[in-house]
């Protein structure tokens, strides 16, 4: 990847990197999306977070996005992302940041936990770029949901039209607290 040449564009890159770090992105996301050296990214990370970035591999499974709760969150994010990436002057990183902020805001208003981290969201856009995941329209509500690329479109029913019997039951203890704060 070409390094940033002018001071101005480097300043822009630092701005984007800082925003991603503030959204709790892993270093791998920064390395892929920002044209700054690894050393500078590390220093920036420590300056903003006050600690070294976590090590280890990123979550890499497409199947995680197929489970009920993550699928709902991923679908909301991808619908927002599709709007943001379609705008004329949007770059991929900016669309990611904006879409993630909008997703987080909406989930927060509903009093739900942020199931999708920015790193997962980035991974999701990568899976879309690679053609491993796609959107399929639900045959009942018409909404677009994240599915494997070769989902059978003519019989697909989304997880919200056809709720599995134990859907969302695991988050009952986590939900007890924000439920009271939800009606704002």
């Amino acid at each position: 990847m070409a390094r940033a040449k002018s001071v101005l564009s480097e300043a822009r890159q630092i701005e984007i990197a800082s925003e991603l770090i503030r959204l709790d992105a892993r270093l791998q996301v920064l390395e892929a999306e920002v044209q700054l050296s690894r050393e500078r990214l590390l220093r920036l990370y420590r300056e903003i977070r006050g600690k070294s970035p976590p090590k280890g591999m990123l979550p890499f499974s497409t199947d995680w996005f197929m489970t009920w709760q993550p699928n709902v969150h991923a679908s909301l994010f991808m619908n927002v992302h599709r709007h943001q990436i379609g705008l004329d002057d949007a770059t991929a990183v900016e669309a990611l940041i904006r879409a993630y902020r909008l997703y987080r805001e909406q989930v927060g208003q509903l009093g739900l936990p942020e199931v999708l981290s920015i790193t997962r969201a980035w991974r999701l856009t990568r899976f879309f770029d690679a053609g491993m995941l796609g959107m399929t329209a639900c045959t009942r509500c018409g909404g677009e949901f994240v599915t494997h690329t070769f989902e059978l479109a003519h019989q697909y029913v989304c997880g919200l039209c056809h709720m599995p019997s134990r859907a969302g039951k695991t988050r009952r203890p986590a939900k007890a607290e924000p439920a009271g704060a939800a009606p704002r």
Binding site: A95, L112, A182
Partner: protein, 125 residues
């Protein structure tokens, strides 16, 4: 609302019959229009891309909106027709939004997905 009303009165001719319910209504429509237009302009100034999503308007309309002067804004707002309308004009989204089960969030996140999807589809068309 009342502060905005004072501003509008300067520009638009005073209603014929002060107390008639229709004139009061059209005054409120003017207020709503002006509030909407000013809010939209402000949102577009703060973050254009996010505003396009929240407002559900196209880039072209956004360009026109942000170029309007205050005088133009007042003139446009002074119509008896509401400028903003429901973006999601079908019963499915509204049934989900008005779901009676208040503590159950799944209809509301379902609605959020449908609304985001339609905003994206509208922008792409």
């Amino acid at each position: 609302m009342t502060q905005v009303c004072d501003v509008v009165d300067l520009d638009v001719s005073a209603p014929l019959a002060e107390s008639s319910p229709m004139s009061r209504l059209s005054e409120e429509i003017r207020d709503a229009n002006l509030t909407y237009l000013m809010l939209a302009q402000q949102m577009l100034r703060v973050d254009r891309a996010e505003a396009l999503y929240r407002l559900g308007i196209t880039s072209e309309v956004a360009d026109i909106l942000s170029s309007l002067t205050t005088a133009q804004l007042l003139k446009i707002a002074g119509s008896s027709m509401l400028l903003a309308r429901f973006r999601f004009d079908d019963s499915l989204v509204w049934n989900l939004l008005s779901s009676p089960k208040r503590d159950d969030v799944s209809p509301r996140i379902h609605a959020a997905i449908l609304m985001a999807g339609r905003t994206a589809a509208m922008a792409a068309s």
